[in-house]
């Protein structure tokens, strides 16, 4: 029965060949995991706050994703443009030039997590819509989005109002909705995040669903029609060091490469080409290969018969299959070692991973000071609530030096309704809501409002506030995050905490506030 055994083995090999992940798929998965190596973020429901976030990852990966260890190049570009009034965002321009020059749109095809998600959605077996004249026309939409949402909106708000409004992130980005918003909301520890959901989330959620559904029927529909990052990288197609190259000596101009490509390319390697390399094996002349400069990274597969007959692919020249296999094993081993190191570092060793929660010593100190202050204040003595930042708790006492030189002491505010606003100059919604607090403060005598800026400062805060005509009391948090720790602040802004006259927390939420909400909270605190 050797024939039957051989046949069974052949069938098994064929089935495995059909479903086995390609080298590109493995690299895509590897990149997605490496970009999101802070896996404990998914468990803790907190984003990573380490220094590695000063570096951008090349692909589309939201930095609000709990696992992200690097910044999103598109989000960072918008923020750099929004900050143009203060200083030019040279760093981001340089990073994009470097990525564009070295990798170009190879990033889209090989190391973009959003590209991977789109390709997996396209795997859902159903009828598919192939490229045509309409899809080709739609590819220009991404340049419109780039001009309006990535460049014009951030620049407009940044230069006119000094506010960071990343238009694409705020109104469209499905990666932000999926990885950032849904990623954070799906963790039960972030149940209070639901409080801030409103029209913006509804709109973005529906946009995400539309794009996701489109990806099931149309190959990489976001990438082809909407992705501004792809539009930027596409501009480097003529000079990018890495990408698919056509050997013009072998090419017969049959056009098989373009006709079988699922992207809207006109030529191999043009601005729509993501250099996935699928065309390498469609080319009857084997004239296409993936190269980085002069180095051939991938060559067309040689059919078994041809190989047996001694034919060799262009890249295989000079290296035997054994050598290629050995090189491949070494490369994969090195890549896995890097991934293992990243997983260990970003989950256990990074200095930023020290608990964000209040340290025991700080709690004790705050509790003690609260007790001392309660002896001085008759009203505070009435509150027997536990020290904490949850609703019903008594907020621990603290004192903080204000920007006007005075000292704010929480214990001194007993008998008044206290509004604490956690904000930062680089947070657009925070800046937008400051006038609401100011107006509210001016119209209520028995209210104390303190706006505390994050200890992470990018601007000269007093200079930023100059000319804004705000009469609020401003302070900057201490380097050890005193106010953030006491109020349960984390990596999301803005946050508002309201205390009643006894110093008890009646409201502690992240998200923007409206004048109506402030008034309603005041009524609630006065009861």
């Amino acid at each position: 029965m050797p024939n039957s055994e051989t046949r069974t083995e052949t069938v098994k090999t064929l089935q495995w060949d059909k479903i086995r992940p390609t080298k590109r798929r493995l690299i895509q998965l590897y990149a997605a995991l490496l970009y999101n190596a802070h896996l404990r973020g998914f468990v803790d429901g907190e984003i990573f706050q380490g220094k590695s976030k000063a570096l951008c990852v090349p692909g589309f990966n939201c930095y609000s994703c709990p696992g992200a260890i690097g910044a999103c190049p598109l989000g960072s570009l918008q923020n750099a443009l929004a900050a143009s009034g203060r200083h030019a965002g040279f760093y981001m321009y340089g990073i994009l030039l470097l990525f564009g020059l070295t990798l170009g749109r190879t990033i889209c095809g090989w190391i973009c997590p959003l590209g991977l998600i789109q390709e997996l959605l396209y795997k859902v077996p159903t009828y598919k819509l192939k490229k045509n004249r309409i899809t080709h026309a739609l590819t220009y939409l991404k340049y419109v989005l780039l001009a309006v949402f990535v460049i014009a909106i951030p620049l407009w708000h940044g230069l006119r109002e000094g506010m960071a409004v990343p238009g694409f992130c705020k109104y469209i980005c499905p990666a932000g909705t999926l990885e950032g918003a849904v990623g954070l909301l799906s963790n039960p520890k972030n149940a209070d995040y639901f409080a801030m959901l409103g029209p913006l989330f509804t709109r973005k959620f529906v946009i995400m669903l539309i794009i996701g559904t489109a990806c099931v029927f149309i190959y990489r529909s976001f990438c082809r029609f909407l992705c501004p990052l792809g539009a930027i990288y596409g501009m480097f197609c003529r000079i990018a060091l890495t990408g698919v190259r056509v050997n013009e000596d072998l090419c017969t101009h049959c056009g098989a490469c373009v006709r079988t490509c699922q992207m809207d390319v006109h030529h191999v390697g043009d601005h729509e080409c993501i250099h996935c390399g699928k065309c390498m094996n469609k080319c009857p002349q084997k004239a296409i290969s993936l190269k980085a400069g002069q180095i051939t990274l991938m060559a067309p597969e040689v059919p078994a018969k041809a190989a047996a007959a001694g034919a060799a692919a262009p890249a295989a020249a000079g290296s035997s299959p054994d050598q290629t296999k050995k090189r491949s094993v070494i490369l994969w081993s090195a890549a896995l070692a890097v991934l293992a190191c990243a997983l260990i570092w970003f989950n256990f060793l990074d200095p930023s991973l020290k608990s964000q929660a209040m340290e025991p010593a700080a709690v004790a100190e705050s509790t003690e000071s609260a007790a001392v202050s309660s002896e001085d204040t008759e009203e505070a003595a009435e509150s027997t609530a536990e020290i904490g930042y949850e609703i019903g708790n008594q907020l621990a006492d603290f004192s903080l030096e204000c920007l006007d030189g005075s000292t704010f002491r929480l214990a001194d505010t007993r008998g008044k309704v206290v509004f604490l606003n956690l904000w930062a100059t680089y947070c657009g919604p925070c800046v937008k809501e400051l006038p609401h607090f100011d107006e509210f403060d001016k119209t209520h005598d028995d209210v104390v409002v303190l706006a505390v800026h994050s200890q992470f400062v990018t601007d000269d805060v007093p200079q930023f506030l100059e000319g804004r005509d705000l009469g609020l009391t401003f302070a900057i948090d201490t380097p050890d995050n005193l106010v953030w720790n006491i109020t349960g602040g984390n990596s999301t802004l803005p946050q508002t905490i309201v205390l009643n006259r006894r110093g008890e927390v009646i409201y502690n939420q992240r998200g923007s506030v409206t004048p109506e909400l402030l008034e309603s909270l005041y009524q609630q605190a006065s009861e």
């Binding site: 000063a54 930095y63 020059l101 490229k131 509804t202 539309i210 043009d270």
Partner: protein, 147 residues
Amino acid sequence: MDKKRVLLILQAISCIALSAALAVSAIHIYLEGVAFRAAGNATAWIYTREKAAAAIGRFWWLFALCALITVLCIFFGARDENQDRPVKEPKDYTGPKTQPDPGRQKIVRLIVLAAALIMIVAGIFNGSMHDVLMKAIMICTECVGLG
């Protein structure tokens, strides 16, 4: 009708139905929440975890149907074979784009590389790298679409 075609049509319908059901649920929760707020409950939450879970729970069978059809499609080998066939366009294909002159390309690459490195170094010193870090570690809720 061929069972493979039926499966593909069913899958298309169920995918669109699932997506539409989730979108309608989100809009419904939002409108309901807004109306409740307008009725004098300014601090009431529009979305809650329970409402979201209920909406997802209401359509779990659509998720299950999509998964089941996917399994059946794999089992019966149903897929749109047309996606593998080459398209007719572009009819005016004239071959690969001519590569730029290598010498000129090299000069452009060197200029871009130099510009990139200079900008990155300048960015480290002018504070724009610090901006990237700050925005990435302290996220503004509106910017990621939370609200």
